[in-house]
């Protein structure tokens, strides 16, 4: 009985995998022989981030916790859901909030905002955990010092991505969190109106640093959180920071390979 169903299915599968379309996409057989296992890793642009063979300990879940990989996957999820959100969201004080409401109430299957928000929370946590495991296995030691540094920048970028995104719903939570966060910039030494020594930066009688040009103003594009801030954060959140992060991730992965693959005892 079972055979009656399975036999045609497997015939159809064979037909499909022998077709010109299939063989034009996958230029090698199933990865069951060692030769094909090597070929699949080398001929697929996504898989070729990996080596063909790797030390057994290094690919164990108990060693890497797959935490870097999970972080990367979350970044991809966020890029994709973020793109969908951009179809609906307009970064203006007038529309932003209403667009968010619409996204949840009127867009069919509207869980894009949820996926994006919870995914972002999760990514912050997984970056920390990834750093924890890299530290605890001593993987920052030579020759991986530089890649650890790249990682620290990625950590900062992840936090900044999350921070800039926090403002976009334009609700009370959003603007006041950003207000609290950006207030600190006022206290930047030399560059903030309320920072140490900035009062000493004067030209004759005119003080050079004021609320209209200090570090906080540069961050917000205004004296307080407003339309210029929303636009600024939107551009950074959707274009600037993701580009830099993606670029650095490429460097990060490249260096993992060039530094000799996942770390292991000498």
């Amino acid at each position: 009985m079972l055979n009656r169903i399975l036999a045609p299915l497997s015939a159809a599968w064979k037909e499909a995998t022998d077709s010109q379309v299939w063989t034009s996409i996958f230029r090698h057989g199933k990865p069951v022989s060692n030769r094909n296992r090597a070929l699949v890793m080398m001929s697929n642009v996504f898989l070729h981030l990996h080596p063909v063979k790797s030390r057994k300990a290094g690919i164990k879940l108990r060693y890497t916790w797959c935490m870097g990989g999970i972080t990367f996957f979350l970044f991809l999820v966020l890029t994709f859901t973020g793109l969908l959100l951009m179809f609906y969201y307009r970064p203006t004080v007038e529309y932003a909030y209403a667009d968010i409401v619409d996204l949840q109430e009127h867009v069919p299957l509207g869980i894009m905002r949820e996926l994006h928000r919870w995914g972002a929370h999760a990514m912050v946590i997984t970056v920390w955990l990834h750093m924890l495991r890299v530290f605890m296995t001593g993987s920052y030691k030579p020759p991986r010092e530089f890649n650890w540094g790249i990682g620290v920048v990625l950590l900062v970028l992840t936090l900044l991505l999350s921070f800039t995104g926090y403002l976009l719903p334009w609700d009370q939570l959003a603007i006041w969190a950003i207000a609290v966060g950006s207030n600190m910039a006022r206290a930047t030494p030399l560059l903030g109106t309320e920072g140490p020594l900035s009062a000493s930066l004067t030209l004759g009688d005119i003080s050079l640093i004021n609320a209209g040009n200090d570090a906080r103003f540069a961050l917000l594009g205004a004296r307080s959180v407003g339309q210029p801030t929303l636009l600024r954060f939107y551009v950074l959140h959707c274009v600037g920071l993701p580009l830099v992060a993606a670029f650095l991730m490429a460097v990060h992965f490249w260096r993992v390979r060039k530094d000799g693959g996942i770390s292991g005892p000498m």
Binding site: W118, T137, L173, G264
Partner: protein, 373 residues
């Protein structure tokens, strides 16, 4: 009985007690490494889970912990505990292996294996599981949206995003130029400097504790206590006006906490000498603050030098201060960089305890130029 328990928990989660308990607990766990066993992990997580679940019946606890945006913080608690345990557990197992006849596990598994399927399947599985988790989480829990932004009406408490609450907590003890600008910069620079400061060649590429005790103790103290604990308490235990509220307490907006903080200059001039603070001009301000400046200067610039002296130069009882062997091993540049960063990190707990013990506000205070330490 239940009320007694709640009072106890409320008391134990106060900043002073919680910070002290957590720090001592962590240090004890490094001293008595048996605690990183599977059994104690099971007991620990069972207790934590029971505590969490049972507490959900308390309305004040539920109100804060079940807020949709606070769910990740519960995640932080469980995940950070789990993975810290997991790393330490493997490290201690490896230490046992290498102390006996054997080699560390990562060395035993040195042979090469095919990445397809061994790794690719794991990654595939991770992606599937994570996707399911995210989907379920998103279907069950709507992303919160508060009232439309109103620049005229600031909510109380106004909190930064949760991952910055450690910095916001620092604002209690330091001015914004330190808590919001200098310390974040130092954290980033300090993290990046770790591989260049730490010259210990051991423990590269496998879990271990014994071979890199100092590194691990310092890093985990920073990560677990100074970062994660402050994030968690900033989320769950800091209410209106950034006042402390126990997990079973109602966030009362009208609660007022007396603030009677005094500066080192007050201690010296007013309390010790019984004189008013010197006033008028730059030099009067310097005179007012001389003791504080001396203290900070000694801490940042003299202490590192003193610490580099050999043990026999120290009187008994202070010998632990000697880091001479590090000075020898690391060389002057690395030693001074490392010790300075470490002292900067320790300035947070030091300032905390000074505040709790003496109501100390500023060690050095030049409010005229926003330069307060």
């Amino acid at each position: 009985m239940i009320d007694l328990f709640k009072d106890l928990v409320n008391w134990a989660s106060g900043p002073t007690v919680l910070f002290t308990i957590a720090t001592l607990g962590l240090l004890a766990a490094f001293r008595f490494t048996q605690v990183w066993s599977k059994t104690s992990a099971k007991v620990f997580f069972a207790v934590l889970a029971v505590f969490y679940t049972a507490s959900m019946w308390d309305p004040d606890f539920f109100l804060i912990v079940a807020k949709p945006d606070n769910i990740p913080i519960t995640g932080v608690i469980f995940l950070v505990f789990f993975f810290t345990w997991f790393a330490m557990h493997q490290g201690i197992q490896n230490d046992r292996r290498s102390a006996g006849e054997g080699e560390v596990l990562e060395k035993q598994e040195s042979e090469k294996v095919w990445v397809w399927p061994d790794l690719v399947y794991t990654e595939m599985l991770a992606m599937v599981i994570l996707s399911i988790v995210l989907l379920v989480w998103s279907i069950l829990l709507a992303a919160p949206l508060e009232q439309p932004a109103n620049p005229a009406d600031s909510p109380n408490p106004s909190k930064a995003p949760w991952y910055f609450l450690g910095l916001q907590e620092m604002l209690v003890y330091f001015d914004p130029w330190l808590a919001g600008v200098v310390f974040p910069t130092l954290i980033i620079v300090g993290l990046m400097a770790i591989p260049y400061i730490d010259t210990n060649p051991k423990g590269n590429g496998y879990f271990t504790f014994r071979e890199r005790k100092a590194e691990i103790v310092i890093f985990l103290f920073g990560f677990l206590i100074l970062w994660c604990l402050l994030v968690v308490s900033g989320t769950f235990l800091r209410g209106p006006n950034w006042n402390f509220f126990g997990p079973y307490e109602y966030w009362d907006v009208h609660r007022v906490e007396p603030l009677l903080n005094v500066n080192v200059s007050d201690f010296f001039w007013v309390k010790l000498l019984g004189r008013p603070l010197p006033t008028g001009g730059f030099f009067a301000a310097l005179m007012r603050e001389w003791l504080g400046i001396l203290m900070v200067g000694a801490y940042l610039f003299v202490l590192p030098v003193v610490m580099s002296w050999p043990r026999d130069k120290f009187p008994t009882g202070l010998k632990w201060l000697s880091c001479h062997h590090y000075f020898e091993k690391m060389g002057a540049t690395r030693y001074y960089l490392g010790v300075s960063l470490f002292l900067m990190m320790m300035s947070l707990p030091i300032k905390m305890y000074l505040r709790w013990a003496f109501n100390l506000k500023y060690i050095v205070a030049f409010p005229e130029i926003f330069f307060n330490i």
